[in-house]
Symmetry: C2
Subunit: 290 residues, 2 copies
């Protein structure tokens, strides 16, 4: 994927504080089969502990150690064949993580890895708490593409995701009766306030009517939720031939409002939903590998 890498005497993954000279990446990561990523460091630690229990591994789940403890840019936990990594908020933050993750998997000689982003999002026309598996990641113009500026030129990449993987995840979701799971398009924006048509930012240059029209147009284009990472996640995984999926819970229905005022305990339960779904999927896949 990058012809320059082969000629480098060392590769230091700066934002992970891991390197090919200082760490035996193949010994550390060679058996990884699933990578789960999400924005919040606390949530990805909690997911690591949850998966430790779900996979029935030995030892105390509260002992899991942050592999990236040499830096505070991201955190990373390894639980058997599962890596759980935080990526912060927005396209640039997740793209740095993905560059270094993909190089890490390459140096570790991992094969057939599945990567899943588990996140939170704003829903459109859905009951809050609904889990959306991304069919297609689209930009703010509802187009299935990701624009990147490379050496002063605009390059457009496809945001196609693995359709079979999305269907397998949908099946897992439908086996869990506690919440609704659907497949829909996910709009990826570069801003949480004006960029998502919110009226409650420090700045706002449009009316409630214009906002409602934009969200309705998004709904008609198949968009069911809005978040801030899916487009570059889909584009980079597609370019690197990695099987990838995005599973986000919706915290509110944006047609009803902008502020997230749901009680904390309810939000915590919502955020567990993608984790439960993805955990069920990974357990099924690991059974098949036996």
């Amino acid at each position: 994927m990058n012809p320059h890498l082969a000629s480098m005497p060392e590769d230091f993954l700066y934002h992970f504080a891991l390197g090919t000279k200082t760490h035996d990446l193949q010994a550390m990561f060679g058996d990884v089969k699933f990578v789960c990523v999400g924005g919040s460091a606390n949530r990805m630690k909690a997911f690591g502990q949850f998966i430790h229990g779900e996979l029935g591994l030995n030892g105390d789940s509260s002992d899991i150690r942050d592999i990236c403890e040499g830096t505070d840019r991201y955190c990373m936990y390894k639980i058997g064949p599962v890596l759980s990594i935080s990526h912060g908020m927005g396209v640039p933050s997740i793209s740095i993580m993905l560059h270094e993750l993909i190089k890490l998997l390459h140096h570790a000689k991992c094969r057939d890895v599945i990567i899943i982003r588990m996140g939170t999002s704003g829903g459109i026309g859905l009951e809050p708490g609904t889990v959306v598996i991304t069919g297609t990641a689209v930009d703010s113009f509802f187009q299935p593409q990701f624009e990147q500026i490379i050496l002063g030129k605009v390059i457009t990449h496809s945001t196609e995701l693995d359709k079979d993987l999305a269907l397998l995840l949908l099946n897992c979701g439908q086996e869990i009766p506690d919440f609704q799971t659907i497949i829909g398009n996910t709009m990826c924006t570069h801003d949480f306030y004006e960029g998502q048509g919110r009226l409650d930012g420090a700045l706002c240059s449009f009316s409630n009517k214009e906002k409602q029209e934009y969200l309705k147009n998004a709904y008609e284009a198949g968009v069911r939720n809005i978040e801030m990472e899916s487009a570059v996640f889909a584009a980079m995984c597609h370019r690197c031939d990695l099987k990838a999926a995005v599973v986000c819970v919706t915290l509110l229905n944006r047609l009803d409002g902008d502020q997230i005022t749901t009680p904390h305990e309810v939000l915590v339960e919502y955020q567990m939903r993608p984790q439960k779904l993805v955990s069920r999927f990974m357990k099924q896949q690991l059974e098949l590998l036996k």
Copy 2:
């Protein structure tokens, strides 16, 4: 700045876990005169402790408490008239923080606040460790503008920064003999690898020759360093009439390479340089207010 805010019964700053109904923001923040922001949570905590000592405040500097402890999206410390806040990496991450910060300052009725981003960056044609005060923030095409997509339309904002503030900061830098301080243009990109012309990402679609040409063109356009937040920082502060500056240390000279392999202790000392400069500036300003 946003006519909709006045009609909201409550404003919950979700990513700070602070709200107008649950917190007395004027009592908590009404005396703030300086806001210092930077990417890394650990660094902004260390800055809070450093400033506590520099301002000669009572109490133990190691006791400073994260005001945003209800969330892990950002951290925030208040040290006398100084707020120290982390913003993560990239334009979307800092823009969420700025929306909520600007609303916080508005709710707290703060006046004449100066906001300074202290960061790390890649230098162009500079000795590593040089501190660059941003003259103008430019985009990947070297233009002094920030493009934002609002309701499916591309809007362009000016990235003008306060010139007098930049000169005052330059004077402070020149009073510190340990390192070089200059004013130069800062290029803000949305990607750390391909977007900054790095050859060492997971993906790379250009040659070393094309990279060198791009960086040389940047240098000729007055660009002296590259980071990932200055354009939206400048644009939002400009729109909100906030005096703002960007002070970044360069960790490497990008004409010489892409990887950051400088020893950890040296990088730690480099990262202290913007803090020392900004601390000196704030102390001078507070003397003037006496």
